[in-house]
Amino acid sequence: MILRRVLLRLLTTLVTLLGVSVIVFVTIRVVPGDPIAMMLPPGATDDDIDRLRRIYGLDRSIAEQYFIWLSGVVQGDFGTSIQTRQPVLNLVLRRLPATLELSIMALVIAMVIGGFLALTGTRLRGTRTEGAIDVTNGMALSVPDFLWGLVLILLFGVLWPVFHISGRISPNLTSEFSTSFYLFESVFRLRFDLWLDLVSHMFMPALALAIPLAAIIGQLLKQSLKETMHLDYVTLSRTKGYGENHVIIREALPNAVLPTLTLIGVQFTFLIGGTVIIERLFSYEGLGNMAIDAVINRDLPLIQGIVILFALLFTVVNLLVDMLYAVLNPRLRHA
């Protein structure tokens, strides 16, 4: 039963990824712009160009190219970046941790801020504070993440420079790490000096990504908490002698987070999408930044690889959310 669901899930994931790969493969080859022309110095002859086209297989039909690419992928070979001449898989995997860490940090920030706003708004419902929280949420929501990025750069990078607004870490520290998961590694090795340097770099881009999501979480969770507060089991808990704080956190919250959770899953994939521009804005060396370079250079194999990885990331996130939902919801757990 469970096995069948898992298999079905894997199958749909596979089909999705295949579909995405076809669409991207065709799109980036149909839009104008020639990767070979981009890499050659001005004054290269047509012969040079043709030779390179053959080397990269770009002289064949798109269908042929796709199947060559796919047969490589099946063997774990995602091709070679035209720009850097390095295997795409290596390039992409080396950048993935940076983007993952940034996204997760943003998610945590969003949940902390959103949760705090929702709980405070529920505790003080009907007061001016609740109104102020609603207005704040509305404002946070109506501005997209990259504009928050610009605002944060102006505020905390220029006017009151307390945070770094460029890069992931101070360049002289990169040699301290043995993995690309800098943030996790700094925590596990209890190197809080490194951690502090990382956070002072990552906090601004992460916050920019987090603000719209925090507002969504704050709004939805508060709504759902307020509805839950009217339910009979909450009232019953009051008659047992419990006060407002206990009732909100112990009785209402566990039930109110469930609808919010599904939404966080969807929104988190948007957030990961948002890293592309935010990373560019903050010169953060992640996948998104690499994606933009790849597009500018028409580095077809690299674009292809990055897009597939993003697609995979989205499906994994959705899977994790579904699993978490099943764990938190006792009614599904026993079904």
């Binding site: 009979d232 089991y233 009232t235 019953l236 009051r238 008659t239 047992k240 419990y242 039930n255 026993h334």
Partner: protein
């Protein structure tokens, strides 16, 4: 004061609006089962909510006293009042399907008050919960302790809620139409169970219902309400033998079991309604908000 619960001239009103309870006074002694009857909207539930401190936000107590175990609840600070109510009183709610938290295990929902409010050890609280689940005839209490509400039927859940209400050995229980949400067949069992538990534990019971048949089975006394006004208070025997108030008489006549079961409901006559409405208006004369 001999009554364990003594409500004196309690008036509850919509904030800035009309009264919903009009100077209600009633007593419930230790071991007494007092029925609160009246048509829908009469204010029966409002009395229970006022006692337990769970009035809706839109209403407020505008006058009166609620003496529970010798203290006037309305003069306590909110936190003290909650503790007092939690330690000495309990609620058996109307709808067992919504009164249990779907994401918490049954056991925790019974023991939480014992541990958090009354300071029992978890072990004591758990053995107490097991004992009570047995008392309300739940098969395999140990398993039910670990279950979630959705794994139990409505009748079972109401048993759990009854066990939970009696677990802390409260001296007063408010039961607000505890059987109306249940199947007819289950209703009788639950009613019998509540009566049994009440007798065994000697709890004072405030029993909200609109069903005089139920009153005749479980209550020892009753108060008849209309429009937030107490019209008549008397012992159950006296009431069924000779109701004093015209509205009470009409109510009794309107209850099928006491006339002809085939006859259906005899509505309370217009003239009686008019008279009792006038009585309510009379009560409001000279009353001013705030």
């Amino acid at each position: 004061m001999s009554a364990f619960l003594s409500i004196r001239n309690l008036s509850v009103a919509l904030k800035g609006g009309p009264r919903l309870l009009r100077a209600v006074s009633l007593d419930v002694a230790v071991g007494e089962v007092r029925g609160l009857v009246g048509e829908s909207g009469a204010g029966k539930s409002m009395i229970g909510k006022a006692v337990l401190g769970i009035l809706p936000h839109s209403v407020e107590v505008v006058a009166g006293e609620i003496w529970l175990d010798g203290v006037d609840l309305l003069r306590l600070k909110p936190a003290e009042r909650r503790r007092k109510v939690g330690a000495t009183a309990a609620l058996i709610p109307q709808d067992p399907l919504t009164a249990l938290n779907p994401s918490r295990r049954i056991g925790r929902q019974i023991t939480d008050r014992l541990v958090d409010i009354l300071g029992w050890t978890r072990a004591d609280a758990e053995s107490r919960a097991l004992e009570l689940l047995g008392e309300v005839h739940i098969p395999d209490p140990a398993r039910v302790m670990h279950s979630y509400p959705h794994e139990l039927s409505g009748g079972m859940r109401q048993r759990v809620l009854i066990a939970s209400a009696f677990a802390a050995e409260p001296r007063l229980i408010v039961a607000d139409e505890p059987t109306t949400a249940l199947d007819v067949t289950v209703q009788k069992q639950i009613l019998r169970l509540i009566a049994q538990m009440q007798a065994r534990h000697g709890t004072a019971l405030l029993f909200v219902t609109h069903d005089l048949g139920v009153v005749s089975k479980v209550c020892s006394s009753l108060s008849v309400l209309y429009g937030g006004l107490v019209l008549e208070q008397t012992g159950v025997r006296d009431f069924f033998r000779a109701p004093q108030h015209p509205y009470s008489r009409a109510l009794l006549a309107a209850t099928p079991q006491y006339t002809d079961p085939m006859a259906g409901l005899n509505p309370v006559p217009e003239s009686v309604i008019a008279a009792v409405t006038e009585e309510v208006a009379q009560a409001d004369r000279g009353w001013r908000h705030g």
